[in-house]
């Protein structure tokens, strides 16, 4: 087996990772984002139903739960890996050839990583971790 053949047979772990994040982010966004927007973005502000983020005490209370923090981290960060891919290809489809370049890939996927880091920081600094709810 030649050196070149051996090189091409290596698993593309980078591609595997980014496609995995794209698929999981897209799936999660499809399953849970609509209900968050409906309840927290529409029904809550309209006053139709009591929503957890409408009052400071209920909001901080639920935000302090470690399971909720973990859920919010996944909810916010994972879809951004999906969005990064879709928005980059939206630019490609609109004829922006530069969107295929490596630095643009760094920019878009780097933004998803940055959102993940900021989300971790926000969740760790906003409400002290507590196991009680309500």
């Amino acid at each position: 087996m030649s050196e070149e053949t051996r090189r091409t047979e290596k698993p593309a772990l980078g591609h595997l990772f980014w496609w995995f994040m794209f698929a999981q982010g897209g799936g999660l966004a499809a399953l849970v984002i609509p209900v968050h927007i409906l309840v927290q973005g529409i029904l809550g502000p309209l006053g139709g139903v009591p929503v957890v983020d409408r009052h400071y005490d209920t909001w901080v209370s639920i935000l302090s739960n470690p399971i909720v923090k973990l859920y919010l981290l996944v909810l916010i960060s994972l879809p951004f890996f999906h969005f990064a891919h879709r928005l980059r290809y939206l630019l490609v489809d609109l004829g922006v050839r530069a969107a295929k370049r490596l630095w643009v890939q760094w920019l878009f996927y780097g933004a998803a990583v940055l959102v993940t880091i900021i989300t971790i920081w926000v969740l760790l600094t906003t409400a002290p971790i507590s196991l009680s709810l309500g």
Binding site: A29, L31, L94, A127
Partner: protein, 137 residues
């Protein structure tokens, strides 16, 4: 044969550059909705960033926390909700093409996989909705 092969290898090759106008997606309805599907990422990203800001604002203390209630915010959310539904429907509908499962050595029909995904969406929405409303006052 060898001389032919040799001569063919010396022919200068040019990379194929497909010519595509920037407005190609406006020509057919199918293309347009494909681009809308790609675009759904932007409003959803903006709404999630708003959620992150809302979480951050909870750290400012009770006197400075005022949840958004403006008409503009509700309109923004309604628009995002439309895009979110479109993302969900198009993404989950593709599950039958992407996911390949076998039970008892027989492939699960794609339509069954799509049904399961839509039921999962319904179940997740009920559970999350119940938590968001149930812990409110």
């Amino acid at each position: 044969m060898s001389s032919e092969a040799d001569s063919s290898t010396h022919v200068a090759t040019r990379a194929y550059k497909p010519g595509m106008s920037t407005g190609w997606w406006t020509r057919k309805r199918h293309y347009f909705w494909y681009m809308v599907r790609e675009f759904t990422a932007l409003p959803l990203a903006l709404w999630l960033l708003w959620l992150l800001v809302e979480i951050k604002r909870a750290g400012d203390g009770p006197s400075r926390y005022h949840p958004h209630s403006s008409t503009g915010f509700v309109i923004f959310s309604v628009i995002c909700f439309g895009f979110a539904l479109y993302h969900s429907i198009t993404f989950l509908s593709l599950a039958g093409v992407i996911i390949h499962l076998k039970t008892l050595d027989r492939p699960v029909p794609p339509r069954a996989i799509v049904w399961v995904m839509f039921l999962l969406w319904l179940a997740a929405s009920i559970v999350i909705g119940a938590v968001l409303i149930g812990f409110g006052r």
